[in-house]
Amino acid sequence: MSLRPSAAVAFSLLSSLALLVGAGCRPDTSCPEDGAPCGGDPSGSWTVVDACRDPFFAQPTPPTYQSQPVELARQPSPVMTSSDWCAAILLGGAGSTAPLTLPHDTLGVAGGTLSYTSDGAGQLTGSYQAVIDTTGPGSIDLSAACLTRLGASLTCDLVAAALGDLAAVMLPKPGQPCSDSPAEPIACQYYFSYSDIQCTDDGHAGCHCTYTVSFAGSLNGRWAIDGNVLSHADASKKLPTQADYCINGDQMALWGHDRTSILDQPGIRTLQLRRTP
């Protein structure tokens, strides 16, 4: 015995309906566009008061392969890898030149400023300068193998001191001191800095180190308006980015146009700003 023809037809229709309903399901969105773009004149200075950022993640670029062919002649492609357990840190190595890249997860937006200068009254173009401050905690477990691989024998206090020294001498330009303040020259505002570095014994001849990571993305370039879309063309010749925006009194909201990242800062989807008096 089988289903009656009418039941079979109903089932088939139900199947088709299910797929159509399924096609109506929408993906989860962690940073929804919580307002309607309305445009306005952005000229002036603005302070970031709130933001939404997706938990952006990308596997660290292996320094091993930078500027080098990954595939060697007559060799199979290397398998994908994660990252270096020791974060490429050269502790105790003479002539340490490697950049300090302590691991951290996605940093939260801590603040920032945006300044828009118009080309003239009524003009829909101009120049802008933006500083987006991000910060967050980080930690790394430096194993006994990491601590001794370069021939040094270090205590955790010495490791903390060495990391602090490495962090202090990291300069975006030779001879250019930076303190990671948004008010600094632009050259200082586009790199990671580390502070509050502390290391404790992990009980296995290694060190558990914690620190605070800060990243101040300082950007500038040209802006233009098309309807309710604000375009930012970065002076560093990166591709322009677009944001939907709405100015309401002394409040401005920016939403990445078509869910793109604002000012090309990975994962930053929305910014709420207040006009700076």
């Binding site: 797929l19 962690s30 938990p55 091993t64 398998v79 890898t81 967050g136």
Partner: protein, 459 residues
């Protein structure tokens, strides 16, 4: 016997190379002869699956693949797919009994074969590759049964009636589902009401360079007096007895040292334990009337270094990157592991470590008391977790692994004709990643919702 049948028998004979041992009598008739006593059956099904996902994480099969992370393009956009890759073709062959020896074999293929790396989307879906599923010979003797060839894993009692009933392609998330070349010896004890199966198998080593085959063993108890309705995956339902199974796996790893030019291998051992149950809560009246039958299928598993036994599972685990103290050695220092990724890895001190997994999967199926049970519902829930995948991944890469996966599905099945079955399914997969963004205590999470419809024509 028609022409097709003769051709089938000829193929079967060629595939299995059947024949008596030297010096033994009587000599069985040549296969293919009209009265040879060989039996064969060609079987299979044509299947179409259509599925819509709310993310672009999955191909046609979801299994235990990684979901796109929140905030990525793939996580924010949907996908629809139609595929016939799950269609199958098989051949069962039984040789004439030879004294008290009974010989049979099976060949089964589907179309989930490996695609060339330059395959386009169109060619991948319209000209799929054949994949060997089963290919074995089984010799039944009065003492033990011997199976040699590729078959379901004994670990988890694969192919023995413990698979979940779902439109989703098996294995569903968290379910042990794998096939491997093996030699299995089994022994059945008991009578027609209660049966005890004992089995041990030497299985293809998970890593050929380990030198030692995986060892699997299992014990299964069946009570034929209590039979319920069960369907394996999207297969046609059948009557199966109440069954409880326990199984285990042991394996050795000998992985090249974590150096550019390795010396000795680093050795580690993996193991797994699994418990399975098929419990007919409301037994089926008969094969022809399953109305009101209610059954539970469950599996609990745990182990280390066994991710390959869960379909498509790596959790995102990779080997670490070799350090490059100068930041630019030429040629770059490369580590070439001699084992698939996701099973073992090296920790921060260069010790070989196995990756732990534990899972529980529970399925429920209910045959509606209409049309003699030819319309039925099923639901599956699973939880899969690793306790050490995050700690065995360098800090900077923990966003690339998932530490937990939850899965739930609901299915509606119907038998349109005895040869045609349709199914509808909703499936939700939720994964929790290993990093802690924004300095908080909450791990990022991703979800995928899938609507799937399938139709299958059995032949």
């Amino acid at each position: 016997m028609n022409k097709a049948r003769l051709l089938t028998l000829a193929c079967a004979a060629a595939l299995l190379g059947a024949g008596p041992a030297r010096g033994q009598a009587p000599t069985p008739p040549a296969p293919g002869a009209a009265d040879s006593g060989w039996r064969s059956s060609l079987y299979g099904f044509a299947e179409l699956d259509g599925m819509h996902d709310t993310t672009q994480s999955y191909g046609p099969a979801s299994n235990n693949a990684m979901l796109a992370r929140p905030g990525t393009y793939a996580a924010a956009h949907a996908r629809s797919q139609f595929t016939v890759d799950n269609s199958q073709l098989g051949l069962r062959v039984a040789a004439p009994d030879y004294g008290r020896l009974r010989t049979s074999g099976q060949v089964e293929v589907d179309f989930f074969g490996v695609q060339p790396t330059d395959a386009t989307e169109q060619t991948a879906f319209t000209t799929p590759s054949i994949r060997l599923r089963l290919f074995y010979v089984k010799l039944e003797t009065p003492v033990v049964d011997v199976l040699a060839g590729q078959y379901h894993e004994l670990f988890g009692w694969g192919g023995a009636g413990f698979y979940m009933n779902s439109v989703a392609f098996l294995g569903v998330a968290g379910e042990i589902y794998h096939r491997n070349p093996q030699v299995r010896v089994s022994r059945t004890l008991g009578g027609p009401r209660v049966r005890l199966d004992l089995a041990v198998a030497a299985v293809r080593p998970v890593q050929r360079d380990s030198e030692v085959p995986d060892i699997e063993g299992g014990i299964r108890l069946l009570w034929n007096g209590w039979r319920g309705a069960s369907a394996q995956g999207f297969a046609a339902p059948d009557l199966l007895p109440l069954a409880i199974g326990v199984s285990g796996v042991w394996r050795r790893f000998a992985v090249a040292e974590f150096l550019t030019n390795p010396g000795d291998a680093k050795v580690a051992y993996g193991w797994g334990l699994a418990g399975n149950v098929f419990l007919p809560i409301v037994p089926a009246r008969s094969a022809g009337n399953k109305g009101n039958a209610l059954s539970v299928t469950a599996e609990a598993s745990m182990g280390t270094g066994i991710s390959d036994l869960y379909t498509g599972l790596t959790g995102g685990a990779l080997f670490p990157l070799l350090p490059d103290p100068s930041g630019g050695l030429v040629p770059p220092p490369l580590y070439r592991p001699n084992i698939d990724s996701g099973i073992v890895t090296y920790d921060a001190n260069g010790n070989l470590q196995t990756i732990d997994w534990r899972a529980v999967v529970v399925g429920l199926s209910y045959y509606l008391p209409i049309q003699d049970g030819r319309v039925w519902l099923s639901a599956t829930y699973s939880l899969l977790r690793s306790a050490n995948i995050s700690s065995l991944t360098p800090e900077a890469s923990r966003g690339g692994v998932f530490i937990q996966q939850d899965y739930v599905d609901g299915n509606l099945f119907g038998t349109v004709t005895p040869a045609v079955q349709v199914g509808l399914s909703y499936q939700m997969t939720h994964q929790t990643f290993g990093d802690l963004p924004f300095g908080g205590q909450n791990h990022p999470e991703s979800r995928n919702h899938r609507a799937e419809a399938a139709v299958r024509f059995f032949f």
